[in-house]
């Protein structure tokens, strides 16, 4: 008897460097729960990994292979998410894509089965702009370069950024980085040097981040004006430049807290038992911590469903209800031992993201530290955008079932 | 013209060799032959008899054509040489001139000749001297020494291939159809060179030839191969006198040579008693 919650992991391929700490964090959290509490609600969670190598094709294969028994699918790449999104409607399995995937997934009425809890890319963009606004008073007349992977993921925040550029009157300069040029970004940085933007905002992934950061150091771009999304905030990428990278920032909805009780439990039940693939240095990093948080969110969804339906062995659609009714209050976070690792948030039928907000982190030369209080995105900016894009998607994929029972705002 | 081998000492022995191409095509069905030290041995036979295959079996060049020796043994100076790297065989003094020239197309004629000396360790001067020797044998090559071999004529390439073999100072040369595509004068000349090298330097030859006439004039012993089997062997003089050989290989009947125009209405019928 177990809950089958497979993870479409990628510990291989060109993005493995970033995948490994995340997957380790995820795996270790469930291993800890299984060892400490006998799982969730008394039932073990089988968090088996299916390796995708970040390839969409393999991901879909994993999905097909696991969907028979699984209560959730964690596709772990925007490409795979897009691919399985329509299938989950038919198969009725919730997608959990924390902090990635398609931003309009926030609209639970249309995307009944998809969750990008606790924050989506438009949240990230909104917070970054807010931070810059706070720093400068106004962005009027500023120039912001948007360095991004030339890939659906990299282009996600563009609609919002373009909209805001008009509203706040700053100049937006999108600079794409090809998948094959990730390690060789001198052209992009030459462009940055020529254009002299006030800020560089980065939507990078995998080897692109390290490439961009080294290139920024080389061209002497002021690091404090360089801000990345949460996937561009990996300790290992910054360690390559070390102190030269000091000042680099990354917005994040998670934070590693080695002092948090949950970390002690992981140490005790998993690491000391020899069940972890991780190492202390990695465990202190942002990505490992984020992996832990992601699993914790999933466990919360499971627990919520178990409470509601009064069964331990919930099924996929019950989990969907659970994921729609997560309520991560400060108290609950303390209770779970995740102190300081994730901001509070709540999901609902209509709101599949939760818009938790996050913190601005800064590399101090050795590690990431929080340099802001808990920030919240201005969701009103893009509520309409979410609704429009979701409707557009549903139309293009007609007939697309929607959940009319949801009350927006409810 | 010699009538007997210089010595009776067997240098190269091929015993009952069977070769299969591509796992299914049986080409040599048990070929045995001996090359005597210091002798010129001719291997005769029609198209597809298996001459080339025999030579390649000896020099271990079958491998890359997906052929393999499945039976029998090949001994050089009493040692088994099967399965040796072709290069190792060259070091032991056996070199092959392949059918169809096989020059290095992008190398100049001179560079082609120099690669022949690849395994030699006796210094630049000796190699230079041999180069001159080859040029003496083939003055046409000297004229074209700077041309890329790929752009020389068929005959020039043949000369180049033979010259290249000579450059390695071998003990034994396996010559596959040296006369093919050469002007008659040159055929004669090449065999004279073979003879000179054989007599002067004691190099032994195993030569596969279609031009039976010339081959038997210069060889000491001969083997006749038909569809993968040796059907006749003997001294060159004997073979020359054999009526069957005369008929089929020398194109002579009792009345002497027949005109190619007359053979139209007349076909020879094979009648080997093997």
């Amino acid at each position: 008897q177990e809950l089958y919650a497979p993870n479409l992991a990628y510990r291989t391929g060109p993005f493995a460097a970033t995948g490994i700490p995340l997957m380790n964090g995820q795996a270790d959290y469930f291993a800890m729960l299984n060892a400490r509490d006998g799982g969730v609600g008394g039932i073990k969670v089988n968090a088996e990994e299916c390796e995708t190598g970040y390839s969409t094709e393999k991901g879909v294969e994993c999905y097909e292979k696991t969907k028979g028994r699984s209560i959730v699918t964690q596709p772990w790449s925007t490409g795979i998410t897009l691919q399985v999104l329509p299938k989950t409607n038919v198969d009725e399995i919730p997608i959990l894509a924390p902090g990635y995937g398609f931003s309009p997934m926030a609209d639970g009425k249309v995307f009944q089965w998809a969750f990008n809890t606790p924050s989506g890319y438009w949240d990230a963009a909104s917070m970054i702009l807010q931070y810059l606004q706070d720093e400068n008073g106004s962005l009027d007349g500023k120039k912001i370069a948007f360095l991004h992977l030339d890939h659906p993921y990299g282009k996600e925040p563009l609609p919002l950024l373009e909209k805001k550029a008009g509203e706040l009157n700053f100049e937006l300069l999108p600079i794409p980085v090809g998948l094959k040029e990730m390690q060789n970004q001198s052209a992009q940085w030459l462009q940055i040097r020529r254009e002299r933007p006030d800020y560089v905002v980065m939507w990078g992934w995998g080897a692109m981040n390290a490439g961009a950061i080294t290139e920024a150091v080389k061209t002497k771009y002021p690091m404090e004006n360089f801000i990345g999304v949460w996937w561009a905030g990996h300790d290992a990428d910054l360690k390559i430049v070390g102190a030269d990278g000091a000042g680099y920032k990354s917005i994040s909805w998670s934070f590693p807290n080695p002092e948090a009780p949950v970390m002690a439990d992981i140490q005790k039940y998993v690491v000391d038992a020899g069940l972890s693939q991780s190492n202390p240095e990695e465990m202190a990093g942002v990505f490992y911590g984020r992996g832990v948080v992601i699993s914790a969110i999933l466990a919360e969804g499971i627990a919520a469903a178990q409470n509601e339906f009064g069964v331990a062995e919930i099924d996929a659609s019950q989990l969907r209800w659970g994921l729609e009714n997560i309520n991560m209050t400060e108290e609950r976070i303390e209770e779970l031992g995740l102190t300081g690792m994730v901001p509070p948030f709540a999901t609902s039928c209509a709101n599949h993201t939760g818009h938790s907000g996050g913190w601005m982190l800064e590399w101090d030369g050795e590690q990431f530290v929080k340099v802001s209080d808990h920030m919240l995105p201005d969701t009103s900016d893009y509520q309409q955008l979410i609704a429009d894009k979701a409707a557009e998607y549903a139309e293009a994929n007609a007939p697309w079932p929607t959940n009319e029972d949801c009350n927006v705002g409810g | 013209m010699l009538d007997a081998a210089k010595t009776d000492h067997a240098l190269l022995e091929v015993n009952n060799v069977e070769v299969i191409y591509n796992h299914v095509i049986l080409v040599l069905k048990g070929v045995s032959l001996t090359v005597k030290k210091g002798g010129i041995t001719a291997l005769l036979g029609g198209n597809g008899a298996g001459k080339t295959t025999t030579l390649k079996a000896i020099s271990n060049l079958l491998h890359s054509e997906r052929g393999e020796v499945t039976k029998g043994s090949i001994l050089y100076k009493g040692e088994r040489v099967q399965g040796l790297d072709p290069a190792a065989l060259v070091k032991r003094g056996v070199i092959q001139v392949m059918e169809g020239r096989h020059c290095f197309a992008h190398l100049t004629v001179e560079e082609n000749l120099l690669t022949g000396a690849y395994t030699r360790k006796d210094g630049k001067a000796a190699v230079e001297a041999d180069l001159e020797m080859v040029y003496d044998y083939f003055p046409r090559l000297k004229e074209r020494r700077k041309s890329q071999a790929g752009y020389t004529s068929g005959g020039e390439q043949q000369m180049c291939a033979i010259g290249r073999a000579l450059m390695s100072r071998p003990e034994t040369i396996l010559l596959d159809e040296p006369s093919m595509g050469l002007a008659p004068q040159l055929v004669e000349q090449i065999f004279e060179i073979v003879k000179a090298v054989n007599e002067g330097e004691g190099v032994s030859f195993l030569l596969a030839e279609q031009n039976t006439n010339v081959a038997l004039r210069f060889a000491h012993t001969g083997y006749i191969l038909e569809s993968g089997r040796v059907v006749m062997e003997g001294s060159a003089a004997d073979l020359r006198e054999n009526p069957d050989v005369k008929e089929f290989y020398l194109g002579m009947s009792d009345e002497g040579r027949k005109s190619f125009r007359d053979v139209r209405s007349y076909r020879r019928r094979k009648r080997w008693l093997s």
Binding site: R11, T12, G13, P14, A16, A17, G19, I175, P176, V177, G178, K180, E181, M182, Q183, N184, S186, A187, Q188, L190, Q191, R193, R194, A207, A210, G211, T214, K218, K220, D237, I240 | S59, L61, H63, S64, E65, P86, A87, A88, V90, I95, Q96, V97, M98, H102, C103, F104, A105, H106, L107, E111, L114, T115, Y118, T119, G150, Y151, A161, A165, S168
Partner: protein, 317 residues
């Protein structure tokens, strides 16, 4: 309109000569790095007509071995030595297991086999070293890491010490290879082998020795390349994709030519950078570097089907 496309970019260039110089310098450095990978290809192609797709992964493999050994506590330069031993072992294995049984097969089959090698090395490398991004041991190897900041025309030009070192090392490597191929017996044998391996065998050139040698040299080049690239962007499997960049370089320069690899590398490195900065980014949405090199090579090939320095394709009947 026309002015925008054909005149304005040049005006830009002259308006900021320091920037132009920086662009050219960056192009030069990446060109040299492409050329380094291409060199490994050329050597192997010359000696066996094998289009060695595995050169890219060999770069990663060499760099990972070096970093991995150092992480085990082996001193930097001894790690270099040991890595060379590993590369030699790799060359011997590849010759034994893959090349020898495939002697004489059509080019495309051998090409496929090298893709097989690539896959194998990716799998093996990830199993042994893990997929994490690693930091190249630049300082431990004594490679300078600072930069010179020059101010030509009152502008700014940043030259990394690292890049300068790469340029110098690559130049030396190329000169050594050129001398080796053109002035040694072995060099001639390598060229002969590429033309007709049967004939080469028949004159006593040992395929095995030469192939091991050539793959080993390619391994050395891979290590140098790996150090150079690794120092710039860290060592990870993502490096493998830069191998694609070597392909147009090769084609442009000519598959058999060392000189071609260098000239091709520099041409592509600089032109693609110029094109991207002055045309690609302003007019085409950027990221033209993914295809520019290929299209350039294609155009050159239309005029010289064997590349700029390749051997003339002999067509006779």
């Amino acid at each position: 309109m026309l002015y925008d496309y054909f005149i304005a970019p040049f005006v830009d260039m002259f308006a900021a000569p320091d920037f132009l110089m920086q662009v050219l310098w960056e192009g030069l450095v990446s060109g040299i790095l492409y050329a380094l990978i291409a060199l490994g290809f050329v050597l192997i192609f010359r000696s066996s007509r094998i289009f060695n797709f595995a050169q890219g992964i060999m770069v990663v493999f060499a760099a990972l071995t070096l970093v991995g050994l150092h992480a085990l506590g082996v001193p930097a330069w001894i790690s270099v030595g040991l890595t060379l031993v590993v590369m030699f072992g790799l060359a011997v294995t590849i010759e034994r297991v893959v090349l020898r049984p495939l002697v004489g097969q059509p080019d495309i089959i051998l090409f496929m086999a090298t893709i097989g090698i690539t896959l194998f090395l990716i799998g093996a490398g990830e199993t042994i070293f893990g997929g994490e991004n690693k930091v190249m041991i630049t300082e431990e190897l004594g490679i300078p890491t600072g930069d010179y900041v020059l101010e030509p025309f009152g502008g700014l030009l940043i030259l990394q010490h690292l890049d300068i070192t790469v340029v110098i090392v690559a130049t030396l490597l190329v000169l050594a290879l050129l001398a080796f191929l053109n002035y040694t017996q072995m060099g001639r044998a390598i060229r002969a082998l590429g033309d007709d391996h049967q004939a080469a065998l028949s004159v006593g050139i040992s395929l095995q020795t030469i192939w091991v040698l050539v793959w080993f040299i390619a391994g050395i080049i891979a290590l140098v390349t790996g150090i150079a690239w690794g120092a710039r962007a860290g060592v990870s499997f993502a490096l493998e994709v830069i191998a694609y960049k070597a392909l147009p370089v090769l084609m442009l320069g000519g598959l058999e030519s060392i000189t071609g690899a260098i000239v091709g590398g520099l041409m592509i490195g600089m032109l693609e950078k110029l094109f991207e900065i002055y045309w690609g980014q302003p007019f085409l949405g950027g990221n033209t570097e993914t295809w520019f090199a290929f299209v350039l090579a294609l155009i050159v090939l239309l005029f010289r089907p064997q590349g700029l320095f390749g051997e003339r394709i002999i067509e006779r009947v």
